[in-house]
Amino acid sequence: MSTPATAESPRQENLVDERLVFWYFVAALTYMLISMLGGLLMGLQLLRWNPLPLSEYLSPGRWRMVHTNAIAYGFLANGFLGMMHWVVPRLSLRPVLDKRLSLFIFAAWQVVVLSTAVGLLLGEAQGLEWGETPVWIDPLAQAGLLLVAINFGYPIIKVKGPMYVTLWYFLAALVWTFLTYAMGNFVPQYAVTGTAAGAVGGLFIHDLVGLFVTPMGWGMMYYFVPILLKRPMWSHGLSLVGFWGLAFFYPLQGIHHFLYTPIPMFLQYGAVLSTIALEFVVLTVIINFVGTLKGTGMLCLSNLPLRYFYTGITFYFLTCLQCALQTTMTFQALIHFTDWVVGHAHMVMFGVFSMWILGMMTYLVPRLLKTDWYSEEWCYWHYWASAGGLTLMAGDLILGGLFQGWSWAALQPWDKSITVSHPFWAVRIVAGLLMFLAQVLLSYNLYKTWQKSPLRLGDETLTNVVPATT
């Protein structure tokens, strides 16, 4: 997996633009902080305490959209792009197509994300959940995704012979992300309307998770977990089942986001069945990763990045188990429209994918900056505050969602469902603050690490020091 030290193998400095990887990480963390501020504002509004009620540009409703979009296109996309700049050249033994193109994509993507945020704050949102990017930015983002696919697709396509699992996921994700973005942002806006647009919208939300975030995340796991454990994946057969099962079943489920809408019932049932089928596939992936860990589970205690990864894998199992239950019509009747779904979404996006990216950063930053973390203890604090805060938030919202659903079904006056939600929303703010402070601590730790980095100090003699494994 890692570059063999043979004479003809290309060297790391010719493969990976480490500076760019680091920039992506800085951008990702910046958007994470911005996004969390938006979430905080909306959370405070629910508690009827809006600290900034005066300006329309600080409206919680608009910042709520910044919250979700900054996570998808700011944190996750930047984190994954940085990770791919490290992983893809090292796996394919070829640099990306063009380093100048890489720099251009980096700059262009930040323009896309920033203008999305500005557009949302100006009230220009498109009415597509998780695709609120104003319509005038969509073509630019679409072109950016094409360039990304070309830049990374080139070294992948050039690989001779069979590819490693990670590259299956990345190659497919490059195609899927481009197609998903195009489908979601253009079809329900310009081609279809009403119920059919709802079906496309559901497919878009779903594919953005399933065909962009998930394959990027799992590709990352298939790369880093065997490296950290210094052993191959437990079963190649299960890797195959996992990839092809995801590729086939995942995109068939878009409509399960809009059950009980006027979308034809047989399509709703199809989406439900396909969701349940996917959970069996997920189980094989989990078994594969648990099998890989077999006998060395204690490493999760001593190896911090590994701990992030397996925490995320545990949450992945939990969320997918939850999916299989909550997608049934019986469950939907109760929990649809409630905070249950919000809790579920946080568990997936933060508990799984953000934890993976943060763990990957914990592992790579010392290698990029050629020095150990400024404070390893802070890294541990970051882990506990992130994982603990998320567990509290997800558990709290999932439970609160049940109360909301029962309150509505019992035909209680609407304000009763607000009263019953209040304690849950209060706990959510505490959990959210904990998660926010964790990311502030990580950012500060990153800053202090950069300050003592030999790269910054210009001490070239130190650049070949390989830091101890975090």
Binding site: Q45, L46, L47, R48, P53, S59, G61, R62, R64, G123, A125, Q126, G127, L128, E129, I156, M163, L171, A172, V175, W176, L179, T180, M183, Q189, Y190, V192, T193, G194, T195, A197, G198, A199, V200, G201, L203, D207, P251, G254, I255, H257, T261, P262, I263, P264, L267, G270, Q332, A333, L334, T338, D339, V341, V342, A410, L411, Q412, P413, W414, D415
Partner: protein
Amino acid sequence: MFESKSGIFLVAGIGFFGLAFLSNALVPAMMYRHLPEKTVKELVNGNLRYQFEDLAQRYPDAFKAAYGEPPEDPAKAELWYNEKCAESLTIGRKIYTGEGCWHCHSQFVRPVSNEERRWGPVSKTWEYQNELQRPVMFGTRRVGPDLSREGGRRSSDWQAVHLFKPVTLSPGSPMPEYPWLFDGAPDKPNKRGLALLTYLQWLGSWHETYPYYEDYEASKILPTPKGEGESEEEAPAEEPAAEATTSEAPAAEAPAVETPAPAAEPAAEAKPEPAATSDAPKNE
């Protein structure tokens, strides 16, 4: 195929994506192709027109500033109102989207969880076959109630005060305030405010009846103290007072005076006292 570049690119990347797009997106689009998509102009109906002209009477200055004056000739004025109403709807939808209203208010009534009793008829596809549902505003979360049957349920005065400062009418509401839709006071909506009011009054106006979702007893499972059954979510006890202080034309007078209005309107206007009219048929 399973590990080759072409297999992954063509079969998984393009093939499976296309299959899902076909089954999950194209099939519903094909199934509803016999329902023509209405333009915004075609959406202007009698109920909505009544509400739109009502806005012109309630907020004459604001309305004039936003849309100018209607022509003298009644036939031309008719067309003029229709045109301005459609324009207002379009802007209203943009504000509804831009302010993120749809992230806390859904626009579909499900056939489960007693929603029919709370909000009226279950949503059907024809209700969404129009330009204002690009993309559709189904929504995925309900912090506040569903709005797909909101139009005409409450007076525009109520809506205006509620948008300006929700807690005045819904104590304990976590809804944000939208003062930028007004020129300093709830009886002075600006163009954006008028547009959002039009949009809200449009939602469900295509139905002949307006459901009263205050119209049920509190659940037997969780008995509430006596009197709670009537003091509904909007706390109607405070409503008349708020109406009186914030509007120059109290809504309660409307049913007696407004005889030439379209059939559905008297009931709609009488709504500020849901307890009194609760069992009356909606528009007979």
